[in-house]
Structures are given as C-alpha cells and as structure tokens.
Amino acid sequence: MNFDRIKEKLSILADAAKYDVSCSSSGSKRTNKKKGLGDSSGMGICHTYTADGRCVSLLKILLTNHCIFDCAYCVTRKSNDIKRAAFKVQEVVDLTINFYRRNYIEGLFLSSGIFKNADYTMERLILVAKKLRLEENFNGYIHLKSIPGASDDLMYEAGLYADRLSVNIEIPTQNGLKLLAPEKNREDFLKPMKKVRNEIVKYKSEKKLIKSTPVYAPAGQSTQMIVGATNETDAQVMYTAAHLYKKYNMKRVYYSGYVPISYDSRLPAIGTEVPMLRENRLYQTDWLLRFYGFSIEELLNQKHPNLDSDIDPKLSWALRNLHLFPVDINKADKQQLARIPGVGLKSVYKILQARKYRKLGWHHLKKMGIALNRAQYFILCDSRDFLKADMSPQQIKSKILAQGNSKYKPLFNSQLNLFE
C-alpha cells in the first residue's frame, strides 16, 4: 500500500464527510460469526472525541468527493474549487479492517459524491460493504449513506450488508430545497427511504415464519437535516422530523447546524456562527417526542412556532401548562413523572423503585440526584412544603434562571445519543 497517497486521500475524503453528524454505531444485533472479526451487538462505543466534543465511533469517509451536482449547502458541490480524490474499493476495505483490528473504530460510515449517476455510485458503495462481509468475514458496524435517487434493487442489496442505511433529507422544507438544490427533488430522497422501510417491515414479518431470512439493515434507517441554512422555523423542522419518524420508521433524525462554507448569497455568510444552541434544543425536543411521550403539537404549534433559547423545551411546556401541576411523586404514574421538569428517565426509574420501600420526601429526591432547582416548583412529596405557592409562570421562570446558567447547561448534546 502506498501510505503517502492513502494519507492524502484520507485527509480529503474524511474532511468532506465530517459534516454528517451521525456517528451512532448501536442498534445492530450482528454478532461474531464463525470466529470472524468483529461484533456489533453491544451498545455503541466512542473511541475518541474530536476537539469539538463529537464522538468518533466510525471511520467516516466519502468514497469520492467528485460530484456532478451543485447543491449550494455542500462542500462537495461541483462548482466548489477544492481538491478532489477517490478511493479504490479495496483501499477502503483495508483501512476499515486495519483500523478495526487496532480498536480505533466500531466500523465504517461510507458515503459519496455522485459520479456518473446515482446507481453507478451506489453500486460502488455496496461493493465495499459486500467485500467486508463476504471476503473479510467482518461483523463490525457498517453504515451506508445512500445516494438519493438510487434504484430499489440497489437499496435492497445495500440492506443485506449494511447495519444502517440513511438518506439525508438535508433541507427541512420543500421551498428551501428548491432554492438551494434546484436540480434535486423530494422524491429522490423519499423513494429510497420508502424502499428501506418496506424491506425492514417485510424482513420482520418473514423472519417470524422463516428463520433463515437474510438479515436486512438490522440497525434501521436514519436521516439528517441541516438547520439554519434556510430560514425555516423550529416547528417546520420538527414537524418534518415527526413525520419521518412516523411514516418511515426512522431510528434517528439528526439535526446539523449549518456550518457556513460558501459565499453564495442564498446562504448565511462565512463567519456566521454555527447555531449550536438551536441544534441542542431540537435534540431535546426530539428526545421528548421519542422517549417522554410528548406529541409534537404540545411542544410546537402556531402560537409557539420556535423553541425558547433560554429554557429547555420541557420546562417551557410545563410553564405553559401549570394547571397540570403539582405532580405527586409518591402517586403519579411513569408518564406523569417523566413530564416533570428536571426529572429525567433515569430519575423516574429511581423514584419508581425507591417508593416501593417508603414514601419519598425532599431529602430522598435530593440524594437521588434530581435537579430540584427546576423540579421543586412542580412536585408534591412526603412533606408539607410545596414551593410553588401560586407563583406565576414568569415568576417561576425567573427564579430558575436566577439560579445561574451553569446548572442549566444544555443537558443533552447531540452526542448523548451514543448510548441510545
């Protein structure tokens, strides 16, 4: 192997792939077979973290950054004056295996610029995955970021070798897409997603009847939206996300704050800050939808089209719905407990366990590590003190904010989901 040449390609093609924020390597049930290499049945592992605090779990690269398209928001776009490179299929296989054997990575996240056409590109991505599985007996994690417009046959084949498939929707609204990538249309993104969804459903039902049904994309499918490239509202982003979760059985929707990479006047100028706090709030909302039993209408609606930046979305919802509080810690069911600001799912579990043994008072809650600075205004426990005492939402909010922002640090960042 010519290491200098590989090194150059790796810098170009890793740099071009880094804007895809997904690095999850969990959710697959692939175990080591026939004393081969690798296992991806556990929870995801971050082998290191980049200087911006993002998890590095997979070797995330493009096969090539040559592209025939010119999407304004993308560094790889045709009109951009950058160095181009392309890996050979075998080179990606060798890199993956050698990194994996040294315990650097959990597997491969492979994507590509589009050369010739969608299917031609997709075929090459599949070839890498196929070689890894069949020639190297590799059982590590493979995520193929698929090419919009790829045919159904190829999407089927991809799922036979990949753990996860994704097609990035990129721009949350139709109008935004028209503005920034006029050559593309929604259907190119949705069609492969539909195929993947249908195959997963089919696999699950056939598996019940025929045990030997070949595994299809065991870690499901995901997608990514860029936020802040167009002037969409949070409601538009999250209603699209909620739709994708429901209609396409998405395992994950990722939100990627737009990193300015172009002087194009349709886009935020270079030097504009990456909207990281907004990204964070969107993830919190996503979490509330998937794990806390909230519906999207409760969190975002016509009256409330954008998330608050100074408080988290659960607290914001609670302040708009004070009539539902206080909640009795010793009696409330799981759903109700999960809706208390400052009480996360782990705390819910602890409360449910501990109250089997005795009634819980403030000191118990404190010992469990519950964020009482927020929770105290919304609960009753085994004590006569109830702190809310007819305070208005505004009063509660300013009391909580006055406790200092440090405690108030965004609890979830985009990477917390590693251990989903």
């Binding site: 081969g36 592992i45 980049t50 050698n98």
Partner: protein, 256 residues
C-alpha cells in the same frame, strides 16, 4: 469493635463475611489487610481465604438476592476502594434480614454508595473498551497496555474475546502487572516481566512493519474529521478527562 482482615481477594472477602456471620459478630469492620493500621483499642481477626466458605456465602447471596446481586457486589469489589468491603458486609447483613434484594432501594445510604461505585466501575470498564489501542507487533500479536483507575480488566475480557476472535491479542494492566492473553482458543492470565509501564513505548523494532504507518493514518483521520467552527474544548475534556489522554495515540505527537 472487631476488625476483620482478609487478603484483598474476592474469595477472601466472602470468607471474612462467612466468619462474621459464623462468630455472630454484631460490630465488625471488614478491611483489606494492607489498608489497616493497627490500634490499641480494636481486636483484630485475620481470616484466611477459604474457597468453600466463600462459595457458601456466594450461594447464599444468589439464593436470596439473585445472581445480579452477586455480580453487583463483585463489580464494586473491583474498585479496590478501602471502604467497599464494609459496605458489602452491611449490604449482605440487610439482605439476610430482608430476604430479598435491596439493590434498588435508592433511599438507603449503603445502596446509594454501592450504586455510585458500581457506576464508576461501569464507566471505567466502558472507557477501557473504548480506549484500548492495539499495536501490532512483528510476530503478529496485537498488544495494548492499560492503567485503569480500578481493576476492571476482568470485566473487559468478554467484550474483546467476542470482538477479536480471529487475532492474537494481549491487554496488559501495567499498574497491577498482569494481563489477558488470547490465543484464538481461550483466554489466560499472564504476567510479563519485561512490560514497560509507559504506554505506547514499544520499541519500533518490535512492531510490525506497517504499524507506524497505520498509527499515522489514524492520527491523520482524527485531525481531518474535526470541525474547526464547532470547537468546544470544555465538552471535549468532559468526554475524555486528561488522565485518559495517555491511551490515545491520535493525540500523541508521533516522533518516529
């Protein structure tokens, strides 16, 4: 107050618990022998490790509290923290009174402390799963040195055995001076007299030919995947506290 001393092994600890129950000691303090400084006022008993007694206690715990109680206590034991034997004793005492597991009674102090330790162990184990960096040696062995805060290597064994079933590997705890060696068939404990206590210090003539090249590629990848505009040093060190940096070859300036 009776001081009950044992040899720092888990079986030793369980043997000591056995004696506490056997002698019906109401007030006993369990301490690993090296953590104890003798005093005038306490009476000391030294319990030698007895596999049979240890097995009986283990069986008793499993019978009353379930297998997960025993695993839980074993994991806490691996922390090597001086206060743990006593916490374990207190937990077992209550277990035998309640006749059911109290592992999830988060309102009890002993439980909260043990849960906290168990969580620390889990974190350290997970970190080792993540931060082990194998170096391929000239004879084809993948070798990694570690120096974990707690003695978690026994907990890592299964993970690495499942994952690297087709390669010879060795993970060596340089702090406690023992390692696990896998030879494609089974795992065994090894003691290697010549292992250097510094990680990443394998002399390059012992390394496989392409080893340095792959290390450089990995470092190169690590740097290329960073997004300058999102720099967040605080978050970074929160995920990888500085004391773990020694494991990460990608953070090393390679001076080969």
């Amino acid at each position: 107050m009776k001081i009950v001393l044992f040899d720092h092994s888990f079986e030793g600890l369980l043997s000591a618990v056995f004696e506490v129950f056997h002698l019906k000691l109401k007030e006993a303090k369990l301490i690993g022998q090296n953590n104890h400084t003798a005093s005038f006022f306490d009476e000391e008993i030294w319990v030698s490790t007895d596999q049979e007694k240890a097995a009986r206690v283990a069986k008793g715990i499993v019978k009353v509290g379930g297998k997960s109680d025993l695993t839980w206590l074993y994991r806490c034991f691996l922390s090597e923290l001086a206060e743990v034997p006593q916490l374990i004793l207190e937990y077992i005492r209550q277990l035998m009174v309640d006749k059911h597991s109290g592992k999830n009674d988060f309102s009890r102090n002993v439980v909260i402390q043990l849960q906290k330790i168990n969580k620390m162990i889990g974190r350290e184990k997970h970190r080792m799963d993540a931060f082990v960096r194998f170096e391929k040696t000239a004879d084809g062995l993948y070798f990694a040195g570690i120096a974990p805060d707690f003695n978690v290597l026994p907990l890592n064994a299964k993970h690495f055995k499942n994952r690297y079933a087709d390669q010879h590997w060795c993970i060596y705890d340089v702090k406690r001076d023992y390692g696990l060696l896998y030879n494609l068939e089974s795992l065994r404990h090894v003691h290697l007299p010549s292992v250097n206590a510094n990680l990443h210090s394998t002399p390059s003539n012992l390394l496989a030919e392409d080893e340095v090249a792959y290390k450089k590629l990995w470092k190169n990848y690590f740097e290329s995947t960073n997004i300058q505009e999102r720099a967040n040093k605080k978050l970074h060190t929160q995920h990888v506290p500085k004391r773990y940096w020694k494991y990460l070859s990608e953070k090393y300036i390679l001076d080969y």
